[in-house]
Structure formats: structure tokens, C-alpha cells
Amino acid sequence: MTTLELLFTVSAIFWVLIFLYLTWLHRKIMKISKKLNKLKV
Amino acid sequence: MKPKPQVTKTMEDEVSHNQITNFFNDAWQILLKDLRLELRRKYEIYSIIILALISNLSFGFALGPSNPNVTDFISGMLWVPILFIGMLGFTTGFVREMDRGSIEGLRAAPISPQAILAGKTVYIFLLMCGGAIIIIPSSMAILNYSFHSNGFLVLLVVALGILNIAVIGSIVSALAMYSQSRALIIPALSMPLLPGTIIPSILATGKLAVGADINSILPELQINLAFLLLMIATLWITFEYVLYD
């Protein structure tokens, strides 16, 4: 593994995992806000 | 600062003395109750014996009849089955009380939560000691090895390690009784707590197997002792939150 590949892999792992977490969070928030709207109606 | 009057002091002493004897009495009663229950279920004791022998046999088949390197594996060979016996025993602590519904009786009884926990801990400790008494000599006989150091040191290390696991076991059992899958959650629950004590125990046993003296296993003993004291202190404060609402 060259240095460039190493740096790329490590940053990709960091940002992809953060991104995945935020997507999961976003999906959950969307779900819960739908439920909330139903309850309000 | 004035010295306290003599009379009050002795009264205080008496009260604290009573509290201490009460504590040990209560813990002793809990222990006796659990031991009586356990003796009624002899099949559990048989299953512990069988588990010990099976683990020894499988290690024997894995390593061969008279493996010259057997001392390298002693600590793993002893602690893995002891740990599994502990896991079996953890369920008998509080989870069984919850399953049988007798936990409400324990909660209502005029016993301090710490005494209940102490009784359960000693019970799990004795159960695991029973397992260790079967495992260690039989593995020494089956796999043809002996410890090259003082036997009392081996006993000390094993007893302290088991005591630590028993403390963890009693609290883990108390936590697990609230979950849906009572017994199945126990390994996951033990995960945060076990490494701090099982690693020093394994290291110390490994050193003793090749003939270490007390000075070379002192760091491990210190860590295990610190673990024990820290756990006891924390549980003394927090355990009532586990038992009561």
C-alpha cells in the first residue's frame, strides 16, 4: 500500500462511517416526524 | 475541638457493631437459602462436573498426550472452563429469583441490598470454587503437568480471580434479570466488566505455571485486588438502584 492509498483509505473510512451514521439518523428522524405529524392530526 | 463524650461513643460503636453482625447474618441467610436450593438440584452440579471433564478432554486431544509445551497453555486451559462455569452460575444468582417470582420477597425483606448482593456473591464464588476444585486437579492428572511454584500462590491467584468473577457475576445477574432474554444477555453484559480481572488472572497463572515467585506476580495481584476493592466500593453505593425502583 502506498502512502497516498493509505491516507485515502483512512480518511474514506472516517468520513464514510460518519456519513452512514448521519444517514441512519436522518432516516430515523424522517420516520419519527411522520409519526409525529400523524399524531398531531 | 472537644473530644466527644465517652457514652455516646460506645453507643455509636454498639450500633455499628450491630449493623455489621446484621449484615453478615443476612448475607449468611441468603447464602444458605441458595445453597439449599442448589443441593436440591443435583443435576446442575453434575453438569458442572461434566463441563469440566469435557473441557479437559478436548484440551488433551488438542495438545496430545505428553506435550512438552503444555505449561504454555495451562492458564487458558484453566480459566476458560472456570469462566464458562461462572457464566452458568451467574444465572442462578438473581435471574432465577426473577423467574421464580421470589425477587419480590427479597425486595420486601428487611435486608440491606448490600447483604443480598454479598450473599449472592459468596454463593457464586463457592459454586465456581467447586468447579475449580474439579477442573484443576483433573486437568493436572489428564494432561500430565504440575505447577512449578508454591501451591499456596496458585490457590491465592485462583481464589482472588474467582472472587472477582463472582462479584461481576452477581451484579451481572442482577442487571440481567430486567432484560427480556434473561440468560442470553449475560455474556454481552459481562463483556464490559470481565477483561479488567480475567487478563491479570490469566497472566499470573501463566507465570506460576513456569515457576514464578510472589514478586513477579505482584502487579497482577495488585490489579486484581484494586479491581475487587473498586467494584465493592461502587456496588456498595449503586446496588440499591439496581434492586429497588
Binding site: 491516507l7 472516517f14 448521519l22 | -
Partner: protein
């Protein structure tokens, strides 16, 4: 944590992500372009600017879980339980990041993914602790019971982590690995490298706090929805 409460209003909620994005962008610039190459390791040491903050966050998150657990038991305010659970979840995430990035770097630098370095092993133990904590929380249905019992687990687990670290240090002294060069600790001598490390740690900490905030908000919303539902059923 309370930083987010200092300035209220919907607009501010939208500005925080932008600020965090800009700070992280600046940190990225410093990590990859501004910081000079290290003398012995060359450019590959830049991994530390990502790995070290993640490891730091994974320990910080567990400390937050610990403190929130104590505060929950003292005050019985569910706010603290939300902080404890959200922080544990994020700690698990950053712990996984720290372990994977550390293992990759170790493979490149020393030829082994796992070299039983005390810190590496302790981080693994920490990850297992988080996994146990999170899975235990999932196994309890009753909200009050879950908060109370998992608080005790959070406290006990936090206390036992330093002892695992001490044990792994002893383990490492018994089994010294000939592969590991001792130059690892000399990184950070140059001021520019230190400044970059501080900036990237600051950026990732901000990111973590923001993520913690929205996770807490999400769980709070879930809780209110559940309680409203329960009332409707009644």
C-alpha cells in the same frame, strides 16, 4: 454540550452544521497540505490526525456516558439517560473508526494489523464494553428500568476500563514485540504538527458534539411520541 443551548432559535440550528463543516474543511487543509512531512515517517504519519481524534472521542464519549449515568441516578431526570445512551452509540462509532484506522496504519508501518499495543487492546476492550452496553439497553423494554439499570452498568464499565489498560501493559511487558519501533512517541515535536493535531481534534470534537446533540434530540422525540401514543391508548 450546553454550547448548543446558549444560542436558541431555528436559524442557529442551521448555522451550526455550516460552522462545523467549515472548521473540518480547514482541518482537512491543515492535515493534508499545510502540515510538513515528518522526518522519519514521511507522509504516512498524517493518518494520526484522523486516528488520534477518533480515539480521543471514543474515550470522551464513554466519560460522558459515565457522568450522565451518575447524574441520572442522582436526579432521575431522563435527560441524562438520553445523553448516556446517545453518547454510548456515538462512542461505539468512533471506537470502530479508531480501531480500523489504527489497524490499517499498523499493517502499513509494522506489517501486522494487530500488534497488541496496550492502547490498541484497550480500545478493543472499550469497543466490547460499548457493544455490551448498547445491546443491554436494547434488551430492556421498560423505560424507567432501562435508564436506572443501564446507568449502573455505565458506571461499572467506566471504572473497569483503566484496569484493562493496566493489564494489557503488563501483558505487553511479558511479550515484547520485536517488530515495533520505538519512534512512535516522538511524533508531534514540531509545532506545526502539534497545531494541526490540535485543530483536527477540535474539529472532530465539534463534529461529535453536534452529532451527540441531534442524536439526543432524535431519542427525545421518539420518547415523546411513545408517551403520546401511550396516552392515546389509555
Amino acid at each position: 454540550m450546553n454550547m448548543f443551548y446558549m444560542i436558541k432559535g431555528e436559524n442557529m440550528k442551521k448555522i451550526y452544521p455550516i460552522i462545523i463543516f467549515l472548521v473540518n474543511l480547514a482541518a482537512l487543509y491543515m492535515i493534508f497540505l499545510w502540515a510538513p512531512p515528518e522526518r522519519t515517517l514521511g507522509d504516512s504519519y498524517r493518518v494520526f490526525f484522523i486516528h488520534t481524534p477518533s480515539a480521543w472521542i471514543s474515550y470522551l464519549a464513554f466519560t460522558i456516558t459515565f457522568v450522565s449515568s451518575i447524574l441520572y441516578l442522582k436526579t432521575r431526570n431522563f435527560k441524562w439517560d438520553l445523553y448516556a445512551s446517545s453518547s454510548a452509540l456515538l462512542g461505539l462509532l468512533f471506537c470502530i473508526i479508531a480501531i480500523i484506522t489504527g489497524a490499517i496504519w499498523a499493517k502499513v508501518a509494522w506489517g501486522l494489523y494487530w500488534n497488541w499495543d496496550p492502547r490498541q487492546t484497550t480500545t478493543l476492550v472499550l469497543m466490547l464494553a460499548y457493544l455490551g452496553y448498547v445491546s443491554f439497553r436494547m434488551a430492556i423494554n421498560d423505560k424507567e428500568q432501562r435508564a436506572r439499570v443501564s446507568s449502573v452498568l455505565g458506571i461499572l464499565a467506566f471504572i473497569s476500563i483503566p484496569l484493562s489498560y493496566l493489564s494489557t501493559i503488563i501483558w505487553a511487558t511479558i511479550h515484547p514485540m520485536p517488530l515495533i519501533p520505538t519512534s512512535k512517541l516522538q511524533i508531534g515535536v514540531e509545532p506545526a504538527i502539534l497545531q494541526t493535531l490540535l485543530t483536527s481534534t477540535f474539529a472532530v470534537t465539534l463534529l461529535f458534539l453536534w452529532m451527540l446533540y441531534i442524536t439526543v434530540e432524535m431519542y427525545r422525540t421518539i420518547d415523546t411520541v411513545e408517551s403520546v401514543k401511550m396516552e392515546n391508548v389509555k
